[in-house]
Symmetry: C2
């Protein structure tokens, strides 16, 4: 098996020092020597979320567990929830909230578009929603939504806003305090480039004391109990997955070392090169440029091309993982991620080179080398910091 | 910092090959090359649980997530649940079930004892409970409860039984099918000696189709949805924590290689040596011998000894982690685990040697070397297979 170059919608590649951290000798979850690790993770997560929120820590589960923790701690049965939906993970938000007993309304936009803020405003007024759920970067489409604007609207209607930053934290701007996001969660395995299994989460005192705040029906995901372990008290709640914590600590140190704005610029720079290359190949990008996430690029599968076969060849011949579409986009788009440690010049060049060769041999006519040349022109410039 | 010798109630030490597995190069959760790993984990878990149950896989969370998955998929609001409680984790069961809307009754026994089966029988009759929750080995006390007997009682009253085998699976007998346990869950980090973060779980068709079966209010812990990923369909549900899966796969291979009965005998043999040594030290074991778990030994803290100080010295001077008591047993007992890879001759000898030296220097009078000699006499014999 070829070593994998992970250019899908996550997990991304993990840096060698993060890999190494996972295999550190085991230590107990209540060991005094572990406590500084917990504290540093909290501090570095606050920096990454750009927040002064006290309650900031990783949930011991994947991004979906973060989503569930967000709703389980803010909804009571009957709470009116509005979800701004233009993709698979917003629909998952709705499903999670519904199972927890919320009355959920969706404000839809076509997949590949963002939800119209005017529609959200109208729906907030009409439904009297107490909670607004928004996905920042929709992993199913690569669309980035304007969370700051949505946050203002939510607050104008006395609602709290919960933001899914699974596919953006650590790679794109998501300044939680400046944008007045009440609760934000992410996943460890995308732009943070730690292994999957943790869901960083932060919430402000507004959402902790909001009318909809409740005792979580989930003991495992009870944020207030979890904070008793992660906060200064360090009281036992469950056996923390220590190897994943070591890895996250190292991954966050690397974010700190690089600097958030340099990291955001790197993601943007490499994404722009990928876009230029894909267009030079003759492919059509799925998302209008103004809405495109830099962490995840989506592109139409050309007519008469078997998309699954192209992905299989990328994996078998180059070790490159990209993803196909979810739900209604199945068979219609590819999803190419340049997240965290995967966002590197050589990956941009390699995936374009590989795609060009495979598409040509699959009968798609194109101008040899054009993609790599187009990307190179952008890569030759410095990223805008 | 001294390297840690983990002799607490979990996590246990992980074998080198399990450590190494965690740092394998990352791979996507939907990669065709990962699917055989998923399938092998399912097969090896069935072997370890001694079950032919189809639905058998690890939850992406710790043992507490396993507990929550067990109840979330078997309770509806108002379901009558009986918990046979003689410790902290049974009380957690009750708390988890209550939060999910169940009507919970506890049948109590003092911590350090097992629950009287006659009391359980009476309570089943009286409450008409539909679900019986039992902790096999209570991590707070080291008591092992007779799950086979409880299973028969539950079935005689048309209830299903959910068994917590967090502190026993892979180290003590828990033959799920033979004992007719309907649902059983465990944790990765105790007798299986994988890192914490996964909760192996199995359930039979009886519990899947029982009157109390329901759609889980938790999307993350919905067993039927999770089985769509773990079962032959391998459909996406959430991003599986692949490094933990690699580690669990290797840990389960080691269980298979050693053989379950040899492993059970090893745990029993080393525990017996520890018990003899502790008694030779002049310490009183907390649990009557007939109820003692071999994975976890509890012992009274002698009068005038500062228990936290002894633990701190064990950690600082020898790198040995043991635990104190939980809840009402705080300050009153020590908990010494010999679980999985931690259940080794040299650990028995070392912890006795260290305890003897520290207790003597703390002013506890004892017969020098007696503990190690007593343990050695047992260790010199072969374990009974």
């Amino acid at each position: 098996m070829l070593p994998r170059i992970l250019l899908g919608p996550g997990p991304s590649l993990t840096p060698p020092s993060v890999q190494a951290a996972m295999a550190l000798p085991p230590i107990g979850h209540m060991d005094v020597a572990l406590l500084p690790v917990l504290d540093e993770i909290v501090t570095l997560l606050r920096e990454t979320f750009q927040t002064a929120n006290e309650v900031t820590f990783p949930i011991s589960g994947t991004g979906t567990a973060g989503m569930e923790a967000a709703f389980a701690n803010t909804l009571a049965p009957g709470t009116r929830v509005l979800v701004a939906s233009c993709g698979y993970f917003a629909e998952r938000m709705a499903e999670v909230a519904r199972r927890l007993g919320a009355e959920v309304t969706l404000v839809d936009a076509p997949w590949g578009q963002m939800v119209d803020p005017a529609d959200v405003e109208r729906a907030l007024r009409k439904t009297g929603a107490q909670v607004l759920g928004v996905v920042h970067v929709e992993t199913s489409t690569g669309v980035c939504q304007p969370c700051r604007e949505f946050a203002q609207m939510a607050h104008n209607h006395s609602a709290v806003i919960l933001v899914d930053a699974v596919a953006s934290l650590g790679g794109m701007e998501i300044p939680v305090d400046q944008w007045e996001i009440d609760l934000c969660y992410s996943g460890s395995q995308k732009c943070l480039s730690a292994p999957p299994g943790l869901a960083p989460l932060t919430l402000n005192s507004r959402v902790r004391t909001h009318a909809t705040a409740r005792t979580s029906p989930s003991f495992y995901l009870d944020i207030e109990l979890l904070w008793q372990y992660w906060g200064p008290g360090h009281a036992y709640h469950h056996t923390a997955p220590v190897p994943l914590l070591y890895a996250l600590q190292e991954a966050l140190r690397l974010v700190h070392e690089e600097g958030l704005s340099a990291r955001v610029a790197r993601h943007q720079h490499h994404a722009a090169a990928l876009w230029a290359g894909l267009e030079a190949l003759g492919l059509r990008l799925f998302v209008p440029e103004s809405l495109r996430a830099s962490s995840l690029t989506t592109v139409h599968v050309p007519d008469r091309i078997d998309e699954a076969r192209v992905r299989r060849r990328l994996l078998e011949e180059y070790g490159i993982e990209i993803a196909g579409g979810l739900g209604p986009l199945r068979g219609r788009i590819w999803r190419i991620g340049l997240m965290g440690y995967s966002s590197q010049i050589q990956h941009v060049i390699l995936v374009l080179f590989a795609l060009e060769n495979i598409l040509r041999s699959e009968g798609f006519s194109l101008d040899g080398g054009a993609a790599v040349r187009a990307a190179s022109r952008i890569l030759a410039t410095a990223p805008v910091l």
